[in-house]
């Protein structure tokens, strides 16, 4: 296979762009392993070094009808994300009264230590349960925008769109990016006798234990939740949609402003204030940044053969060739559409850095489609991702 590269120049009578279409694998291979005589550096067909990401830009807050919005361009891949907040009254949640009374234990414990309460820095055990159980974050990614020829507009979401939506949802849940406290709309009942009476009746109906009634007067209650509809439109797709989509989600959530909302007793509904000065931004936990990689193998057959773990002999062979300085596989950062079509193995690493110490934290690591990347290489990829984290942070802070 390595002989494919030197044989290229004499036979090349086509312009490079056509050769790239006819023989994509050989074309990329020839770029990555140029003949030693040509003295050219190993470089990808798109002119990037193997660990180089595409130029990224971001812009936030340009869409009028959203609470927060962002446009992120990673090379030619463009993702537009809009966050819309809507209200979910607790009266509408079928299981609310049950789950609420069971979680009142936690709340009571918190109330016993009032000094801790205003800081909200403590780990709230209810956080994920509320966001996850009540589906307060609703990300949906759409590829049927004409972003690439393969996706038919109007058809139900493709497998790729579905898996990307779920990846984003899982990442939102596992990073606990959005605080549940930001999404709660509280109501502090005034301590009136009448109110107490009403509440007492309510607790009787629900058959809750008697001790709950004692504290009821000073207990704040959740009247509604904000539900964040996070819609991502991939306007242009040229490889690596996940990084762009996640960056857009992150930028849009950073931009999101929720109006001040309160329970209006007279109207029995949640009412918001439209004053910008009273609205507040979401306080996100950290800044997880996704970096994707793919592995390009010199063996053209690697694309379609079943993934087989190499036996000892093959392993030795690979090691030997590596000693001789013949590189058989390349890990390409931020693959474009052309490279994605030629590779099987994918790695996606989401990292964050702790605020005080600057230590890199791996939030998510996903690898599939092959066996080329091992522990040593993953470690190097985490370092690259950490570097990328700095770049993305800089871009997001500027917009």
């Amino acid at each position: 296979m390595a002989s494919a590269a030197p044989s290229v120049p004499p036979s090349l009578t086509l312009p490079p762009s056509q050769f790239a279409r006819l023989q994509p694998h050989a074309y990329l291979l020839a770029h990555l392993s140029p003949p030693a005589s040509s003295n050219q550096p190993s470089i990808r067909a798109n002119g990037r070094a193997t660990s180089q990401f595409r130029v990224t830009s971001a812009n936030t807050g340009s869409l009028t009808h959203t609470n927060g919005s962002a446009v992120v361009r990673v090379g030619d891949t463009t993702a537009v994300c809009g966050v819309r907040a809507e209200i979910l009254p607790t009266d509408d949640i079928a299981s609310w009264s049950v789950s609420h009374s069971s979680s009142s234990m936690n709340k009571r414990r918190k109330l016993t230590n009032p000094a801790q309460k205003p800081t909200q820095e403590e780990e709230d055990p209810e956080d994920e349960t509320h966001i996850q159980q009540l589906n307060l974050l609703v990300p949906n990614l759409s590829l049927s925008t004409g972003c690439a020829p393969g996706f038919i507009p109007g058809a139900p979401p493709s497998a790729l769109a579905q898996s990307l939506s779920h990846q984003i949802l899982n990442l939102l849940h596992s990073t606990r990016l959005v605080r549940a406290e930001d999404l709660r709309i509280w109501y502090q009942p005034p301590s009136l006798g009448q109110e107490d009476l009403e509440r007492h009746n309510e607790s009787e109906q629900m058959d809750v234990d008697a001790e709950r009634g004692e504290e009821v007067g000073k207990d704040k209650e959740i009247k509604a939740f904000w539900v964040l509809y996070i819609d991502i439109m991939i306007i242009s797709l040229a490889g690596n949609p996940f990084d762009a989509a996640w960056a857009a989600v992150l930028a849009a959530l950073r931009d999101t402003k929720l109006p001040r909302a309160w329970w209006d007793v007279d109207n029995e509904m949640v009412v918001c204030s439209d004053a910008v000065s009273e609205s507040r931004k979401l306080s996100l936990r950290g800044l997880p940044v996704a970096s994707s990689f793919c592995v390009f193998e010199a063996d053209a057959a690697a694309g379609w053969r079943a993934v087989i773990i190499p036996d000892a002999e093959e392993e030795r062979e690979i090691e030997e060739s590596a000693r001789k300085g013949i590189q058989r596989r390349w890990i390409l950062a931020d693959p474009d559409g052309y490279e994605e079509g030629l590779t099987q193995e994918r790695v996606c690493i989401v990292v964050d850095k702790e605020e005080g110490t600057g230590k890199t934290v791996i939030v998510k690591m996903e690898k599939n489609g092959g066996w080329a990347v091992d522990g040593k290489e993953l470690k190097a990829l985490v370092d690259i991702s950490a570097q990328r984290w700095g770049e993305v942070k800089h871009i997001l802070e500027q917009c």
């Binding site: 490079p16 762009s17 067909a45 798109n46 002119g47 340009s62 869409l63 009028t64 009808h65 959203t66 919005s69 030619d76 463009t78 537009v80 809009g82 966050v83 819309r84 809507e86 209200i87 979910l88 009254p89 509408d92 949640i93 079928a94 589906n135 990300p139 949906n140 759409s142 049927s144 925008t145 004409g146 972003c147 690439a148 020829p149 507009p153 109007g154 139900p156 979401p157 579905q162 939506s165 779920h166 949802l169 539900v227 509809y229 819609d231 439109m233 306007i235 242009s236 797709l237 402003k257 109006p259 209006d264 109207n267 509904m269 009412v271 918001c272 204030s273 439209d274 910008v276 559409g337």
Partner: protein, 324 residues
């Protein structure tokens, strides 16, 4: 019915936020209605750029200039309720490409148009599945474009035109009661934008056309005088529905200037003499259509510039685009 291929929100559904200011009496907010700062025949500026989506054979992005009230609200935000909105849409063209094997023979190019609002495009959240108004827009767009493309040059081929609306025009001012304007007037502006953007994208895809078709909107509106009395109806070009108390009728055309031909005409509303209360010749059917044509002429100048830019980029490719 839940959609199992998408992530659904809470099963009980959610409610859009209700702002306290909109609950107050109507008199206190009517002062806040955005006012048209432009002359009756002055159009909004249009931003139109081609070739933003490299994987498509042709693409265009169109944006209307925000109205004065929206621009003011953006620069110094006071209220979370936007006074009006400005159209933003992206259009892609895929093709000409072979029809699927199962399709029957067609001597002409088969045009498919698809218009979809993003869920966050309008004041009310839109669903993921196309609704009637979106399908309607798609049909209108198809008629507008079918008269322009030289269809017999590509037998047995298909052409897909997809438009994603990132931000739509308002149908009425948010402070008005939902039924005070009967028709979705914003749709007409959206259609005019779709026609202009699709025309640019088709030219960007190097598909032979008779001419560049441009969309334009004109409307007969009756505004409120400062005393709250309805004023005499007036003809205005490129109306922003949020800026007017009531739109009596509106017209959108797809117009080819060099052939002086209209490929699509959509007229809506009632402007009979009895409803206008005047026999002014300037408010007739013809003048309304002429107004829309004039608006289209204005859009055509922008369109021609954008297509020229696209052609220059295309011509520049062989010399400057060598990547190896």
């Amino acid at each position: 019915m839940t959609d199992r291929r998408r992530i659904n929100g809470p099963p009980s559904g959610t409610r859009p936020a209700v702002f306290a200011s909109s609950l107050k009496s109507a008199s206190s907010i009517s002062t806040a209605r955005p006012r048209r700062q432009r002359q009756p025949d002055e159009l909004r500026k249009i931003f139109l750029k081609t070739g933003l989506i490299p994987s498509a054979s042709g693409s265009a992005y169109l944006e209307f200039e925000p109205s004065a009230s929206l621009a003011a609200a953006r620069s110094s935000p006071q209220s979370l309720i936007p006074p009006s909105s400005a159209l933003k849409l992206a259009c892609t063209v895929h093709g000409p490409k072979p029809l699927p094997r199962s399709a029957s023979f067609s001597p002409n190019i088969v045009l498919t148009t698809h218009v979809k609002y993003a869920p966050f495009a309008a004041r009310q959240r839109k669903g993921h599945i196309r609704d009637a108004s979106e399908r309607d827009l798609g049909v209108h767009l198809e008629t507008a474009l079918r008269g322009v493309i030289v269809a017999e040059r590509w037998p047995k081929s298909g052409l897909d035109i997809t438009i994603t609306i990132l931000e739509a025009e308002d149908d009425r001012w948010w402070g008005d009661a939902p039924d005070s304007h009967d028709a979705p007037w914003g749709m007409m502006n959206v259609l005019a934008g779709c026609i202009t953007a699709a025309s640019a994208a088709i030219a960007d895809a190097r598909i032979d056309c008779l001419d560049l078709v441009a969309g334009g909107v004109a409307a007969i509106v009756s505004d409120e005088t400062p005393d709250g009395e309805p004023s005499t109806p007036k003809l205005m070009l490129d109306t922003d529905p949020a800026e007017h108390k009531s739109i009596l009728s509106a017209c959108v055309v797809a117009y080819m200037p060099s052939r002086d031909e209209i490929t699509e005409l959509w007229l809506k509303g009632d402007h009979s003499k009895s409803s206008l209360g005047t026999t002014d010749q300037n408010l007739s059917h013809e003048s309304l259509i002429d107004g829309a044509v004039n608006a289209a002429r204005g859009a055509h100048t922008v369109l021609a510039e954008a297509v020229k830019e696209s052609a220059e980029r295309f011509a520049g490719l062989p010399t400057g685009g060598s990547t190896v």
